[in-house]
């Protein structure tokens, strides 16, 4: 074996990818060749230098990905494991992550820890006899302590903000319920938005509901909420306002699953005015599946794919 052919086999030898015959021949050559042995050493040094570059995905990134995926698939029911997590679990996880050496992500993790702490504190106060709800038994009071001051008489003065939780039950046709749902569609918690948009889409008759769905499709940060809202717009694809939003979303949304569904909705109602939008999308689309879908839609409309 020449040094030239040995050098071609060294990387494969290192990775254990040679067949036994080749391996034997190379080893024999290495035994007699200082230069090729040195080359194998360099291969090992390279590999160990590269080993140090490997990164592990942090657990909470994985959990976030899982929650996003399940929200997208189910149209948004909160992830089972997530909802089962109590404040202590959240808090301990956050503390655990903070000490995991993830400097870059320490800030948001710290924020979670603070929220968890606040929530834990709130639960303690909520269970204490002081701020008792005087209304219906379904009310629950949460408090956040703002200030603690001992006074001269050996007592303590505590200042806290109080948030009252109230539960209302009613039919979907009830105006009060609908108003709350419309407000919930703009809540900070994505799980609440998903659930309320999901319920609103079944009531898609009124203009207010339509506007809430349009707003969610165009502006909601959570992909599960956007997909749910799109479902709600399914029977309104003839509405010019809805079509305008869909056209905008097709070009602007960063999630391919959303864009796929938008194409479905756009082609559900034949409208030649959409040809330009679809042609524009073909030019800009970087996801193969979405592009193929748009191209197919244009073909079905007997329109050319490019604007030329």
């Amino acid at each position: 074996m020449t040094c030239d052919s040995a050098s071609k086999l060294i990387p494969l030898y290192f990775y254990g990818e040679l067949d036994p015959d080749e391996e034997d021949r190379l080893e024999e050559h290495l035994h007699n060749c200082v230069e090729c042995t040195h080359s194998l050493d360099r291969q090992r040094t390279l590999a160990s230098a590269l080993d140090r570059r490997q990164v592990e995905a942090p657990q909470f990134l994985l959990e976030d990905c899982r929650a996003d995926l399940m929200a997208a698939i189910q149209g948004g029911a909160p992830h089972a494991d997530r909802s089962a997590k109590g404040p202590w679990t959240l808090f301990l996880e956050a503390i655990g992550s903070t000490f995991a050496g993830l400097n870059q992500l320490r800030q948001p993790v710290g924020a979670v820890a603070l929220v968890a702490l606040g929530f834990v504190a709130a639960r303690f106060i909520g269970g204490s006899p002081a701020p008792v709800a005087s209304g219906a038994p379904s009310d629950e009071v949460f408090a956040t302590v703002r200030d603690v001051k001992p006074d001269n008489a050996g007592r303590v003065q505590i200042a806290y903000d109080e948030t009252r939780r109230r539960t209302v039950t009613g039919s979907m046709s009830d105006q009060g319920i609908q108003k709350l749902l419309l407000a919930a569609a703009r809540e900070e918690n994505p799980a609440v938005r998903v659930e309320s948009v999901g319920l609103l889409q079944r009531q898609a008759g009124s203009g207010e509901v339509r506007d809430a769905l349009i707003n969610a499709v165009a502006h909601d940060a959570n992909v599960g909420v956007r997909l749910r809202a799109l479902e709600g717009l399914k029977d309104m694809t003839a509405d010019p306002e809805v079509r305008k939003t869909l056209a905008h979303v097709l070009l602007a949304d960063d999630n391919p699953a959303v864009r796929m569904q938008v194409v479905d909705l756009l082609v559900a109602h034949r409208d030649d005015a959409m040809v330009g939008v679809l042609q524009n999308a073909v030019q800009r689309e970087d996801n193969t599946s979405v592009r193929l879908k748009v191209e197919k839609a244009l073909k079905d409309m007997n329109a050319s794919i490019g604007t030329f």
């Binding site: 990775y15 390279l46 990164v55 995905a57 990134l61 976030d64 698939i73 996801n287």
Partner: protein, 203 residues
């Protein structure tokens, strides 16, 4: 390192996974979730290592498993689920790498007044280096490595990632990338040669 079902690389028959797939094909959401959990750690790891960006890795994760979800009924058990899934993941990652090459984006490496730094450094567990000379050498080596990896074609980068970091056999890699074992071998050879020539005195 955490192991998941993807650790059983190349195993065409995995009765537990097969029954999860069949249940998920019948519309069982729990089975689908279990299937995801069996493989998603390694999917995210590949994406993080290749793209060096948690945001991009997240997108790859989402798109890959949504594709799996939509196309699971088309899976006919003529290759292992692992191979099928990785084919999807590698396609998405290759698309991303190609796009970056076209846009000449430099993944996570950013220029600062202190020189080039890798945003992902904070993800790596590194022992504090007390020797400043050694630390400088390490930093320079790191920069060189980033440069060397950027020099690879997306396909070479992918083969190298799957062989070196994920420990997959070249035969499986060829199957995933829709090419032969021989072509995967050539890719790996080219990748290591390029890196060795860029790294020069460092290795």
């Amino acid at each position: 390192m955490a192991q998941d079902a993807a650790g059983a690389v190349g195993a065409r028959l995995n009765p537990q996974v097969d029954s999860l797939i069949r249940a998920a094909q019948r519309g069982d959401q729990d089975a689908f979730e279990q299937l995801v959990r069996a493989y998603d750690q390694s999917v995210l790891r590949i994406a993080m290592n290749l793209l060096r960006s948690p945001e991009d890795a997240r997108d790859v994760y989402q798109e890959a498993f949504l594709r799996v979800y939509r196309n699971l009924n088309a899976f006919r058990f003529d290759c292992s689920f692992h191979t099928w899934l990785y084919r999807i993941v590698t396609n998405i990652c290759l698309d991303q790498l190609r796009k970056r090459k076209v846009r000449k984006e430099e993944s996570s490496v950013v220029e600062t007044s202190d020189g080039a730094i890798d945003r992902m450094d904070t993800f790596e567990e590194e022992a504090a280096e007390s020797d400043p000379e050694r630390s400088l050498w390490n930093r320079q080596l790191k920069q060189k490595i980033e440069g060397a990896l950027l020099d690879l074609t997306p396909r070479e980068r992918m083969v190298f990632e799957l062989r070196h970091y994920q420990g997959l056999r070249l035969r499986n890699i060829g199957e995933m990338l829709g090419t032969t074992e021989e072509a995967a071998k050539n890719c790996l050879f080219r990748a290591t040669q390029k890196m060795r020539s860029v790294l020069g005195d460092f290795v």
